[in-house]
Symmetry: C2
Amino acid sequence: MIQIKQFGTLHLIPVGLSSTLADQWLPEATQRCAGLLTHYIAENAKTARAFLKTMPLQHALQDIVMHELNSKIDPTTIQSWLEPLKLGIDMGLVSEAGCPAVADPGARAVAIAHQWGAKVKPWVGPSSILLALMASGLEGQRFTFHGYAPIKPDERAKQIKQWESISALQNQTQLLIETPYRNVAMFETLIKSLKGNTMLCVAIDLTGPNESIRTLSVAQWSNQPIPVVNDRPALFLFQAALSANVVRANPTKKA
Amino acid sequence: MIQIKQFGTLHLIPVGLSSTLADQWLPEATQRCAGLLTHYIAENAKTARAFLKTMPLQHALQDIVMHELNSKIDPTTIQSWLEPLKLGIDMGLVSEAGCPAVADPGARAVAIAHQWGAKVKPWVGPSSILLALMASGLEGQRFTFHGYAPIKPDERAKQIKQWESISALQNQTQLLIETPYRNVAMFETLIKSLKGNTMLCVAIDLTGPNESIRTLSVAQWSNQPIPVVNDRPALFLFQAALSANVVRANPTKKA
């Protein structure tokens, strides 16, 4: 008789973007699942434990196995962490903020689960990228998330202009993030590099008490006080005016 | 004395992707907000009312003002629908499925709210694009959502190959959707057009009872039964092997 190997499931659990209470941003089912799991892979073990303390935990926090995943960990180590899946034990993956495997190294663990044929379950929760895109009023039918722009000023300005051209040609919103201490410099580069009629959205402290999402043209922003500070998370989104020779793509229907 | 005009807030309320109960995919705060609002703009009034029936409604359903937004409605009409914001009345925007203003025409209403200086509040809820990306195990640090591929077979194959080249050059995941009745044709085009070592994720019925998310190489998929059917929503994601001359971008940190 052939024994069918039953893998555990890798649960992808979003965590908060701010200090607001979880009922504001996490469905009850996600909270219940987070409280049940005994094995976690986390981008940051300290913030993951702080998150779990606010969940309906079914186990003592110190009994929960926690591995810390960064981009330097080798694949063999990640595989060894995922071994419990082979024993039928469910595991959790959490990011430092928001949804795991988006804008963090978590996809490396998810890819191994797929190689093994284990089930991967994404749970609903907050994503700064998605919340900013929804609230920007910019094109949500085509968009690119770039992560970080280059750091060197000349490369950065050149890259931003290139993304602006792509936005104009493909009628596409461009999204990028920055480490908080460079927010002001990033905003200034955007204002200097983008065209006056390009629409720029600045989204700050999403789901937090100081949430602010504003979309203005670059020309309008030039006459405003700088909206970002260097100690709060911000996202930058922009959409260029369509190139004259581009026929607007047909409006799409929701999947 | 100058009177400060206090606008109402435009609340962006995600709705379900499947028939599963809302506690599975909607935070309590989002449900409370949905139940409080008296004025809605919806992509589909019928599905919006069905959604509201499952929310903790504070008003009779028939008393809730509901406008139906599609891509053909002119901007002046949308502005007239948003007039209550000017009176300080909060309004809701809902899509036919998932998050409003992403892969639907909702951004047009959000853009007007920004023009007026009204506050826009994005609430947490399910997005098939985000859930599929999380669970794909593909690159989550750089990605593009394209909406729909062209319909004509030759244009479609050409476009998919072009997106594959961009994926290889920029180490970027490519996401697209299809109307359910073309799912099988889309899957077959992907298998024929993409390289054998490109990783392809097929995500079906997200948050639903038949949720299935699998990532295999195109070569592996060729030896499998076709995973999609023509009556369930599916998303397709792929990531090409990196071009040999591309240095992998630095791993990014979460915003």
